[in-house]
Amino acid sequence: MWRDALAVAGKDLRIERRSRVGLQQIVPFAVLVIVLFAFALDPDRGVLVQAAAGLFWIAVLFSTLLAVQRSQAIEGADGVRDATLLSGLDPSGVFLGKAIAVAVQLLLLEVVLAAGVVVLYDVDVEGIGTLAITAVAATVGLAAVGSLYGALATGLHVRETLLPLLLLPVVAPVLIAATRASESALADTTFEVAPADWVGLLAVFAVVYVAFGLVAYGSLLED
């Protein structure tokens, strides 16, 4: 399963490296979103600094939608889906591979976006370790549920409009948990709920969706 997963992830990441869709479209989109937030919220009144963590994760959620749609578009082109079925790859491996590729892209995007937030919003980072762990835990969950719902919406006529409606309410807890955990890393203040608890919640979310994807993806591929 792991070998198949790495093969699929390698394939997706190679395609992305060559096509540069992520670099030339998704990353600029995410940066654009945080610039637009600065226009919407007056930068002089300190609102941006207070809301930085939340705005960052909103931008990541929007980018996740794009990354997932892109990841499924690769599968839809040139009969890749049929070829995957015929290749005898383990469906769980295919799911893991797709999710790993999306997660890697999202993590790279988050690094760029975090740098953008620090520079543009003038935010001080206190706990870089907390931030990194939060990002990894949240991203694994986002990539897993995104890949699963992306596959679920493929082949349907209205997938572009359907995917956000299905995915965003499901990832709402990720937004809450990741935002709170990041906030404590930015402000270096302790809240009533420790960042470790939020990261734990993100981990539970990730485990649930990875497990469900491993079981369910095979039957989604078949039709």
Binding site: L148, L156, L165, L166, P169, V170, P173, F212
Partner: protein, 242 residues
């Protein structure tokens, strides 16, 4: 022959629902005014019952989806039940939010507070709306049934995570100043009105569910028949030409 969706079962369910609802209305309107909430306290006859029916609907959708996914119990009926229950669930969830807001305005001074339970209900409504949107997408019935069953199950699996997320989220901003759990010192007649409301809305839910499932089945039969007729016509055309 014209096919209907009523039967002895729905007639008796419907009759029981009407009786229970009427009794709820009478009992609810004769409740005494309370000191803190005045007339609004009578919403206790409506709001908990509506919320209860919404939770039942959500649960039935999840269970029916699971039964569809298990090969041993797979049948079209479970898919239709899941969809019908979700549709009714959306109505009850929306009613729960509306009656809650009407109650909240005099009690807390605002229509909406970002309380954990309210937030969770709003999320539930969004999940149900997404699920119904998926069901409306034209697709092969089995494909659609499978995908909507996955979405329904995932929506239920995420409920505990949502629960903790919104609970912890709110503790950051306020200690529970708005304690919304019913207090223990409720008078007997208020409890009676609430229980009657629970029963009445459960009966209404069950009655709607049976009818909605039967309507859905008739719709499917109608589609199949229309297709058969169309195929038949095309064949006859071919014979004439040939």
């Amino acid at each position: 022959m014209r096919k209907g969706t009523s039967s002895a079962l729905t007639l008796s369910l419907g009759f029981a629902a009407v009786v229970a609802l009427s009794a709820t209305v009478v009992l609810g309107l004769t409740l005494p005014k309370t000191f803190e909430q005045e007339e609004y306290s009578r919403l206790i006859a409506v709001h908990p019952g509506v919320a209860w029916a919404a939770y039942i609907a959500f649960g039935v959708t999840a269970v029916a989806s699971a039964l569809w996914l298990l090969p041993r119990t797979r049948s079209r009926t479970w898919d239709l039940v899941a969809g019908a229950s979700a549709e009714i669930g959306v109505v009850f969830t929306a009613l729960m939010l509306v009656t809650g807001s009407i109650w909240g305005r005099p009690t807390w001074g605002v229509y909406w507070v970002w309380d954990a339970r309210l937030t969770l209900s709003a999320l539930m409504l969004m999940l149900l709306v997404g699920y119904l949107a998926l069901r409306r997408v034209p697709a092969d019935p089995d494909v659609r049934a499978q995908r909507s069953a996955f979405v329904a199950l995932l929506s239920v699996l995420v409920v505990p995570v949502n629960h903790y997320a919104v609970e912890w989220w709110r503790t950051l901003h306020q200690s529970r100043s708005l304690d919304m759990t019913p207090s223990d010192d409720l008078d007997g007649e208020f409890i009676a009105a609430m229980m009657l409301g629970l029963l009445a809305f459960t009966l209404v839910y069950a009655w709607l569910l049976v009818h909605r499932v039967r309507v859905a089945r008739l719709e499917e039969e109608r589609e199949d028949e229309a297709l058969a007729v169309a195929i038949d016509e095309r064949r006859r055309e071919a014979e004439v030409v040939g």
